[in-house]
Structure formats: C-alpha cells, structure tokens
Symmetry: C2
Subunit: 223 residues, 2 copies
DNA sequence: GTCTATATCCTGATAGAC
DNA sequence: GTCTATCAGGATATAGAC
C-alpha cells in the first residue's frame, strides 16, 4: 500500500522533471518558472512544493539526472575498452556521444555546463554523477596508456582536462552559433574527428602522423 | 551647446552600461535588472528609457561593446603579423588575450558566448563587432599560411573554427569549474600552450615535432 | 495531497505632470 | 530629462482549509 503511494509519488516527480525540461527547452534554462510547470501539469504552483522543496532543489535534480543520463550513454564505449578498443575509436565515440546528447538537450546542457540561473549553483550531492564521469574518463585514459596506446609520460589528469576542453568548446560554439543544429549537421561538431586527431598527435604513443587517418580514426595497434 | 548636451548624454549612457556590468558581475548575466541599475545610479527606473529603448537594447549594447573591447585588445597581436611574428607566438598571444579577458569579465562573456537571457538574442547590428573579429582571425591565419607557416593545404575557415572551439572550451570549463580563477591560476587556462602545440602539430607547416617547444611556442622560421 | 488565498517582492514598460 | 504614479503581470514561497 505504501509502495503504491511511493510509486505514484515517484511518477509525479518524474512528470514534474519532464515538464520542467519541456519549459526550459522552449525558454532557455533561465526561463524555467514553477508557475509555468504547474500550469502545464494542470495543478497549482503550491502543489509542486510537495515534491520539491524549492526551485533550487528542482534544478539540482535536473542537473544530476542530466549527468546520470550522459554517464549511462558513455557506458558502452567504456565497456569497449576491455574488449581492446583503440584510442581514436574510444575518444571519437565518447566525444560524439557527449556532444550529440548536449545538442539534443540544449537547455539541460546549459544548466549542466554553465551557471545560467541567478542564485543557483548545483549542490554538492548533485555533483556526484558529474564527478563519477570525469573519473571514468581518467580511468579510460589510464587504461589506454597502460596498453601502450598513449604516451607513457603523459599526465592522465591533463589529458582529461584537454578532452573536456574540446567537448565543451564544440558544444559551446555549436549551441550559440548554430542553435538547433544536430550532431551530423553542425560545422563545429564536424570538427570532432579533427580534434581527436590533434589530441592523438600530441598524446598518442605512435609518433608517425601516418598512423592517423584524416577522419581522426586510428589504425589498430597490436598490443 | 548641443554638443555639451550630447556629451552629457553619452556620459550617462556610459554610466548605465558600467552599472549594468556591475550588476551582472554580481548576479550573473541573467540577473540583470533595470530596477537594480536605476537604484545604483540614484535615479528611477523609467528614466533609463530615455537612454535605452528596452532591456534588450541595453543587452545589445553590452554585447557589442564586449566584442569591440576584445577586438581592440587583439589589435597588437595582429599588428605583430606584419612584423613577421611566427604562428605559435601569435596564436598563444591571441588565445591568452581572449581567455584572459573573458575570465576578467565573466558575466559579459556569458552574454557574448551563450544565450543566458530568456527572450533575448543579439540584434544583427550588435553582431558586427563579433563578425569583424572572426574575419580578422581568418585574415591572420591566411597571412601565416601565405608565409609558409601553416600547411598550404589546410582550410583557413576550418582552422578558424578549431581556434574558436579551443578558446570557447577553455573559457567554458574555466568559468564553470573554477569560477573566480584568473588566467595565470586556472588549470584549464594553463593548457593553452598545450592546445596551441596540438593545433600546430595538425596545421603547422613544419612536420617535425622537434620544431615545437613544450610550452607551445615555435622556433622562428625564416621566410 | 491538493487546493484557495495570500504574502512579498520584483519585472519591464508607459502616461503624463513638472 | 527626470520625476511620480501606475499598469499588468510575473516570481517564489507559505498558511491553513478541505
């Protein structure tokens, strides 16, 4: 009985989240308003406070769910690591997944990457999923390095920083200069292969440029 | 007499702009409010409408002035081109100037790079300065290419896109992950030299990695 | 659990007196 | 040019009835 009530409650919470994302998608992250969310759900604004303690708490939830979702999408490419995936494949896959998701979830990405809402910043708990993701990236880079696919003298943390700079740069340019473009159409997203190639020229173990194909993929290197 | 009135008016406009930037710096770009601006100036809100037709018009002005200011800062490094500057020096200078300015003007940068204010997007006229800057970048890259410092087969437009991705990426990561850090302290800003090196590995005319010093600067190449 | 009602405050913007 | 007065509406949040 209490289970049923719990389930119903969770369902309503999910509906609030979905509606909030809908509003943000139309108005930008800073345009989120509880009144508009309530109106679309067919309830009154105060009822929302039964599910979220404040607007900030709702933002935290949207933030955390976004990073969780991205993390879940990244799973497969990290799994491919144990199957012996190469560096270029992994990185291109990773960046494309990340950038693609951000372009498909503009407003939520805004909330996750920047600080668009006056007075709000993510609570430490909400950060957890984001931290987990950067740790997974570091782990993957360390794995590649151990397998001899990245320079043994490169700093894993630095490589991680560079990777996040590249993804944030593409997302930022794409969202503000060609809003609405998807992964396949964007001129900046189209540079992802090139950026991966640049990264591997700098950090890849093989020093010969010939190891790299123009699209950024990399010849398989026998372990 | 009319000149004096004009001058006084311009002075007030400048004060509105300065105050608006002050407010934005404290609250984020989306936190800009005309009431707060008026209060700090010691006037009433309606008086502002004598100088700006709307909040959007004020935002346009802030946007345009930001790009103008950055453009003016870039001038010297572009001038160095005719004096025979090399690619690494120019690019590092350029990126550092840009990123440094953005970190010192967080909120204005927010306005210029993203779309933080619901319902506002820059008017075409406000864009002019931004366009001018990307054209200056393309011009500089073409100059370097003509002088044999960049691969002759590289696409100038593409190189320009990559450069803007790098700067936007550093700015984005720096502003959201280490807010408050200046150019010299930021961990992401600290990668600028590395990023320039990566760029030149990919697009530089000299193919040997030995041509590049670790900090991203490049040996002078006699024309 | 959801409602009505309300508190409190802020928003951008306009009309018209001085 | 700047003001007062005001519009018309929005925001988040709380108290207490049903």
């Amino acid at each position: 009985m209490s289970d049923r009530r719990q389930a119903r409650r969770q369902q309503t919470i999910d509906e609030v989240v979905a509606t909030a994302l809908e509003v943000m998608a139309e108005t930008g992250a800073a345009g989120l308003s509880l009144g508009e969310v309530a109106k679309r759900m067919g309830i009154r604004t105060p009822s929302l406070y039964g599910y979220f303690a404040s607007k900030a708490a709702l933002c935290d939830e949207l933030f955390a769910r976004g990073w969780q979702e991205v993390g879940a999408l990244m799973g497969p490419s990290y799994d491919a690591l144990s199957a012996g995936a190469d560096a270029a494949g992994l990185l291109l896959d990773n960046l494309s997944t990340f950038v693609g998701w951000a372009l498909d979830h503009r407003a939520q990405a805004e909330l996750m990457f920047w600080r668009p809402i006056p007075g709000w910043e993510p609570a430490p708990e909400a950060y957890a999923a984001a931290v987990q993701l950067t740790e997974a990236l570091s782990g993957a880079l360390a794995n590649l390095q151990l397998r001899g696919l990245l320079r043994p003298d490169a700093d894993v943390e630095e490589m991680g920083r560079v990777i996040t700079v590249l993804s944030a740069g593409v997302i930022s340019q794409q969202l503000s200069n060609e809003p609405g473009a998807r992964l396949a159409e964007g001129r900046f997203a189209g540079e992802l292969g090139r950026l991966v190639a640049m990264f591997l020229h700098e950090f890849g173990a093989g020093k010969k440029a010939a190891d790299l194909r123009p699209d950024g993929s990399r010849k398989r290197v026998r372990r």
